[in-house]
Symmetry: D2
Subunit: 307 residues, 4 copies
């Protein structure tokens, strides 16, 4: 398939959408991005790589990081992690408290905020120390993307710490139900550092390749997780990867994917490739508007939907 | 692959589970089934067929019928049907009123009861008459399964009409929001007739083959829907096909599927086959307990998950 | 106290509000009222009577009737009625389904629609027949108001039967939970007939006098209920009499009261008088806008709040 | 009336209930009370005083303090305070997050925790400093009870700070909606200090006398608030004073009242007296089990219900 041609078509077809959507405003430091930046990268199983746009632009990966921390938690805790969170779509926004209260502090899945906060709490318990925990996550991501030049944006992390009161509400509520071992602020500080990690679409498309390849990176051979877990992470991405727009994403795109409020979306074509697209303006559900459309065009043009 | 061997292994491995689960009790007439009946059928693209158990036993297809009525509604109304229902997982049981009230009478998706009632209402508007509507659905199913010997069980249909007060509540609530054109009782009578259609696992495994094959039956050539719609129905099945256990089904089985409270589950392996399994005892979420396990064993043994 | 002077002041002070609010539109036949009609009546314990406005105008009493049917149900079932409904404010609109679903079909109190439907169901069980039930309620109201010239408006009753789908949803949901003995439609028909009873402010101010006087009418001597029950009905009116504006009514008016969507509100000054005010335009919560204001002015001017 | 005789009857009649209910366990330091302590005090308008039991025992007033802080906030902010909280019963437990989320961070009323936290935030804004704010509240209570010997229990206050994660969730959620000016922890520290104030039933029965007397203390002449505000605080107590048991309290007791999880309940008989009862074991809704019963017996025996 002529991927470059397809990517260029997509780049051209989405250009009419630059006026739509809104850059995330609730994290002050996230506002300082160029609203019309765009990049899309494909990394195939054999290592071949295709892209359009600013594929060397580092952006805030935000919730995309939840894939990596959850993979680590599965390696650490295996099935025991499911005592503390579920695998069902929430049917609610990513930060809903009502459902969490009704369900006694057990988050629906690892990809809503509450779930990812529990995952972080579990990792801190395992690694004993917040700095070590953060470094373990970062070094896991470096291995997955075969790239040592990855770090986090301290200004964004602190910006979230100071304004993340809804996340503090989620963490405090879970703490009151006994589903958090550490102090809510402590967990959130590490969580926000992880969300503030910056990567390019190139790096991200590579870093999810293990999910297309039964758990190990086909280029470096790094084994991140087992085949069964890789499949299950993909399943979770398709049912829960886009909050209350997960159904729509499965419906229109047809690939396991995970979005971040920084404007990135990663997607996985099983047995074929990792994909990442970036465009910072978001739709109403908080997912990259152009990114979602670009992926829809991609599966329409290539027939590479999993369905 | 030696499908017969695999099916026999599955039949043997699930045998320890016959004591678990409960036959649906809320539809009185459904209780009269043999609790330890089991059947599993595969129909492949080339027409080859494999089965174990009582694959000629007719059982009540119940909510599996929602796939067929929704396909018909898409053919009739195209995208306009999405003004009246969504494509998101509900995160709630199949018959929740709270969410429907909060969302002004617009059901989350076509596979929860409220959504399927709206679909039926739309079909009645199109075909003008309830008998004609039912016959159109029935004849659509006959074409899909290439089998004229399919009918509904009047006793079960009437049993539901007399006890289906929660469905009456759903329909009445949608009517109060203006999302139902006909009288709630009228729509429900036809809806319950459709749910009371009886089929075998053999017939059902064939009848979903169009969803594995871009919208048309590969054996008869009957075109049921477009390629894009077939993919989207598959996407809806994976995110919404098992009510508030949809995430778990995607997670454990990894195939688009749809369950019915009568004990049947259909599943689709894109480009490969249609599957149906039957066992009447249900788990807590109202899906066949053994059926779910059998499908999980199937994808584990064959690696045929879509992920 | 110079009640006539006070009533005239009120009539003058509320005149600037005639442009505000909306006549109830969901019951088609209710729309045919004169939007600027107003009446206010006081009946004192010694039988003295004061009024302003059209106090001989018959209007649809609607939910005010719930006081009378609940009093009858208490006489019939005593405390047993509380197995089927509660005594707590709902904190939700009068017709909410979410709470009713969450609380397994047990309505919060007898003054929200679900509660009054359960009360009607209980009365039908007691009197065996819907016509007899309706006649018992009507004759109870006739005795309370010492007036035989009271009947219901058939057109309004039928108008509600045909459009009352939300009430049908409530009744069906309770039926599905086993908290309704009769068919939902049957109960609703009698319920809507009761709501369609027409009375004047004069008649209504007299008919609630038993609640100001420990359960019996001080003029005729008719004993409607016990002292304790009369006090408890007053308590229920102050906490639950105005749906999700009950707190505001207690706060601003400070009297036990019950509103109807037809534009009437009754209120009780313990040991002193029964009050009724009428004005058909409603505020957002579905209570008479001018009626509420008139009562607030009344307690401010007279100091007759219970607090 | 022979109040001493009545109080002794009550003391005798409630003695069979000492085995029921549970002492609050969520605040660790609150557990260290004698479960069978009991006291009941009446302070009449003319200063006469009646009591049974340990009326000089200091206990943790907890949520009873919300009356005093709210009165102060009304004096400070007048109607403007209602931009930040409502006057409706919540229909939910005292610490529900779901409703607060659904209603965009505006608490239903000043007597649920979220509302009292907003009141504290407003007072801190007014008095500029948390210590000054606490001292103003304490000195207001001293004036109301005409008693300088009132202080708070530091161990209980700190115990709440360390375990009050659900309150931290409420405060954080309101902060995220912009309905809190100060840091959640800062507001909660002062709030928990206020809740940890210790008083006797004698002091508390006197301190609410202003609510029975149009806003000023009839003995000392201290004017705490206006007549209208006093009536409205009473109205709020009857509709919202006992969380999701407010309806039941109005129904069974028939007086404005406010409970605290420390085991105290205050009640007001307009124009007659202030009441306080203490017994630390709580019913399911978190109100003193014996205290509630004692007040019910009191109004039954004296006929002093407001209805």
């Amino acid at each position: 398939m002529d991927y470059i041609k397809i990517l260029k078509e997509i780049q051209s077809e989405i250009s009419s959408l630059y006026t739509k959507g809104e850059v995330a405003s609730y994290i002050p430091a996230l506002k300082d991005v160029k609203a019309d930046d765009f990049a899309m990268s494909l990394t195939l199983m054999d290592g071949s790589y295709y892209s359009v746009g600013s594929d060397d632009l580092k952006f805030s990966i935000q919730s995309i990081s939840k894939i990596f921390s959850f993979t680590l938690a599965l390696e650490t805790y295996s099935k025991k992690i499911y005592k503390r969170l579920g695998v069902e779509p929430s049917g609610d926004p990513y930060n809903s408290l009502a459902q969490l209260e009704y369900e006694n502090g057990i988050p629906r899945n690892p990809f809503i905020n509450a779930g990812a906060i529990v995952v972080m709490d579990a990792l801190i318990s395992n690694f004993k120390d917040t700095d070590i925990t953060f470094n373990e996550i970062l070094s896991f991501i470096k291995k997955l993307s075969d790239n040592k030049n990855i770090s986090y944006d301290q200004i964004i992390a602190e910006s979230e710490i100071h304004s993340g009161y809804r996340n503090l509400a989620l963490a405090s509520l879970m703490k009151s139900f006994g589903n958090l071992s550490h102090d809510p602020r402590t967990v959130l500080e590490t969580y926000f550092k992880m969300c503030a990690i910056k990567m390019t679409t190139k790096e991200l498309s590579r870093s999810v390749l293990y999910l297309a390849n039964d758990g190990f990176d086909p280029i470096s051979g790094f084994k991140a997780t087992s085949e069964q877990r890789a499949k299950r992470i993909n399943a979770l991405m398709i049912t829960c990867g886009h909050y209350d727009a997960s159904g729509e994403f499965a419906f229109n795109v047809g690939l396991p994917g995970k979005s971040g409020v920084g404007g990135g979306i990663v997607a996985v074509v099983p047995d074929k490739m990792g994909i990442c697209v970036y465009s910072p303006k978001l739709n109403k559900q908080g997912n990259s508007l152009i990114g979602t459309k670009a992926l829809e065009l991609f599966t329409t043009k290539t027939g590479l939907s999993i369905f």
